[in-house]
């Protein structure tokens, strides 16, 4: 590991992408993600890479599609309203089996919403970032250091499964500063991409990148093939962190910024003698169903905490599968819940138990 430096979440995401070999960034500025693009604008020319501020989010995601087709590591970043604009392109990327990285530094919605942090794009990221039958990888870092670590994994898995990957952050994580260690990368071993349309001087059959199929049976088959890969990803790549869950009666489930607030609340609850724990999904797709189902055997109650009106809580309920009650607490619109508010909810659940 290298020496410690002080980075904003947005800068860390950008630097990590550069370290992962990404040299092609296409974006359009939007608060609270702007430092990411600004960092790329400063760094990319020095590395012989591309930083391109497109005329719109729609243009930017289609440039990503073009670069991904050529087989290079490429990315875009935005905040909530901008990600909505990209959704058509994301669907085309998924339909063309193209790997790329999309970063969403979430802010309050719907509509123009606000510029303060939010987690209200969970459904969009994990269920429907565009039309059609498809999924993308979704990673939810909770610290600036984890942002650095997950960007590389996101690129690797995107390449391995030939599908888009998303880092779902929020305005708080994007804007806050923390000391980080940037890993020293000696040599990148990138996966070979024999499918890429990258020029070959007639040395092979030419490749085609496409998401249009004339026969419904052909389209169905490509989707079935893709879903077989999704099943493989679900079996191998459910990532989570458990904190004090082993003997916990009440398990708080939270990701990203709200998991840090929940962690403080869990620690305070323990001081009061309440057996609370924290389950933190790190991959939101695939959602860590298996471990959560196991926890439903030992825990008595679950509490999902989100900066939304309750979106991930649906997946928690599906994973727990009716074995134990699942409650929800959230603040939304850019309001950040406090540890005291979460502790209040934990106490309420514990009180009903006694």
């Amino acid at each position: 590991m290298g020496e410690k430096i002080l980075m904003k979440g947005n800068e860390a995401l950008a630097e990590a992408a550069i370290l992962a070999g990404c040299r092609h960034f296409f974006g359009y500025p939007i608060t609270p993600q702007t430092e990411l693009a600004a960092y790329m604008a400063k760094r990319m020319p020095k590395l012989g890479g591309t930083f391109l501020q497109a005329e719109s989010e729609v243009a930017a995601i289609n440039m990503v599609l073009g670069a991904a087709s050529a087989g290079v590591r490429t990315m875009t970043s935005s905040s909530s309203p901008g990600v909505s604009l990209k959704s058509e392109g994301v669907s085309y990327l998924a339909g063309s089996d193209l790997p790329c990285l999309i970063i969403n530094v979430q802010r309050g919605g719907p509509g123009l919403g606000g510029i303060q942090p939010s987690q209200a794009d969970y459904w969009q990221a994990t269920k429907a970032l565009g039309h059609g039958d498809f999924q993308i990888f979704v990673f939810a870092p909770s610290t600036v250091q984890e942002m650095v670590d997950l960007v590389n994994q996101a690129f690797d898995l995107a390449d391995e499964y030939r599908m888009p990957a998303m880092i779902l952050a929020d305005g708080m994580l994007g804007q806050m500063m923390e000391p980080v260690e940037i890993p020293e990368v000696s040599e990148l071993k990138l996966k070979d991409k024999p499918w890429a349309t990258n020029g070959h001087k007639n040395s092979r059959e030419h490749n085609i990148i496409n998401s249009l199929y004339m026969q419904p049976e052909d389209l169905e088959q490509t989707i079935r093939d893709r879903f077989a890969r999704y099943d493989d990803a679900k079996a191998k790549h459910q990532v989570f962190e458990s904190y004090l869950t082993e003997d916990a009666d009440i398990v708080v489930v939270a990701y990203g910024a709200s998991s840090r607030i929940s962690r403080s609340a869990v620690e305070q609850a323990r001081e009061l003698g309440i057996k609370a724990g924290l389950f933190r999904p790190i991959t939101l797709w695939p959602f860590p169903n298996d471990e959560l189902y196991k926890l439903a055997g030992s825990a008595k109650k679950f509490l999902a905490v989100e900066m939304s009106m309750g979106q991930m809580v649906d997946d928690v309920r599906l994973a727990v599968n009716g074995r134990k009650p699942v409650e929800f607490f959230g603040r939304t619109g850019g309001v950040i819940p406090t540890p005291a508010e979460v502790l209040e909810q934990i106490k309420k659940l514990a009180g009903g138990d006694r």
Binding site: K4, I5, L6, M7, K8, E11, E15, T31, P32, E35, A38, Y39, K42, R43, G108, G113, G114, I115, Q116, G171, M172, Q175, M176, M177, E178, P179, I182, A257, R260, I261, G334, I336, T338
Partner: protein, 222 residues
């Protein structure tokens, strides 16, 4: 430092300008001076001195903030009230400028008046910020800030730190960087900032120590 009515605090994003500005304002107020703190950061809607209005109010410090600061409206603009600093009877006017040259552009609007009144402009540096970790990068950024603001820095303040992980050694390791940056910029190194808890360890090893309290905190870790 604070040897002039007008003090501007500029530097890289996240170098610690707001925390320094608030500490200087609180110290001046403690010394019985009348103080105005102007939040001139119109490029970043997060972590800014207007977020600390209550604390500043309680110490009798007047805060002048951009319109819509700490709201959901991303419409940065300068207010008429900002021009009142040039008619102010206050003894200290501290300007917390936005990061980099982008943030310093707004300061350029006041360059003519500040040239007439005279000023002190502090350039805040942090060795542990990745895009300004070399003295050459820090001086290049200063040139960009000076061009954008149409004003000249008068001194360098070494604010090298790693937030809560800062040790005395963290600061000692930044001294050469700070001195080189100041030398390359042709400016005096006015102070090295250290959180109050580290002062006993640093005393005797460093001159021009400036003790500060950590006032700018993060809602999810504090």
């Amino acid at each position: 430092m604070l040897n002039h009515k007008y003090t501007m605090i500029c530097g890289h994003y996240g170098s610690g300008k707001t925390n320094l500005a608030m500490n200087l304002a609180l110290k001046a107020a403690q010394n019985g001076e009348s103080v105005t703190l102007m939040d001139l950061d119109i490029v970043n809607p997060y972590f800014r001195s207007s977020d600390y209005k209550e604390l500043l109010d309680s110490k009798g410090i007047k805060l002048i903030a951009p319109a819509f600061a700490h709201s959901n409206l991303d419409l940065p603009s300068l207010t008429a009230e900002m021009y009142s600093i040039f008619a102010s009877q206050h003894e200290r006017i501290i300007l917390d400028v936005g990061g980099d040259d982008q943030g310093a552009t707004a300061l350029g609007r006041f360059s003519k008046q500040l040239d007439e009144t005279g000023y002190e402009m502090l350039y805040v540096i942090n060795k542990y910020r990745p895009l300004s970790k070399l003295s050459a990068e820090a001086t290049e950024l200063l040139t960009e800030i000076e061009q954008a603001s149409r004003l000249k820095a008068t001194g360098v303040v070494n604010n090298s730190h790693l937030m809560g992980e800062t040790t005395a050694q963290t600061i000692l390791n930044s001294i050469d960087y700070a001195q080189n940056t100041a030398d390359e910029a042709g400016l005096p190194l006015l102070a090295t900032v250290a959180e109050r808890r580290l002062i006993p360890e640093l005393e005797g090893k460093l001159t021009k120590l400036l003790p500060v309290d950590i006032l700018v905190t993060n809602p999810i870790t504090s």
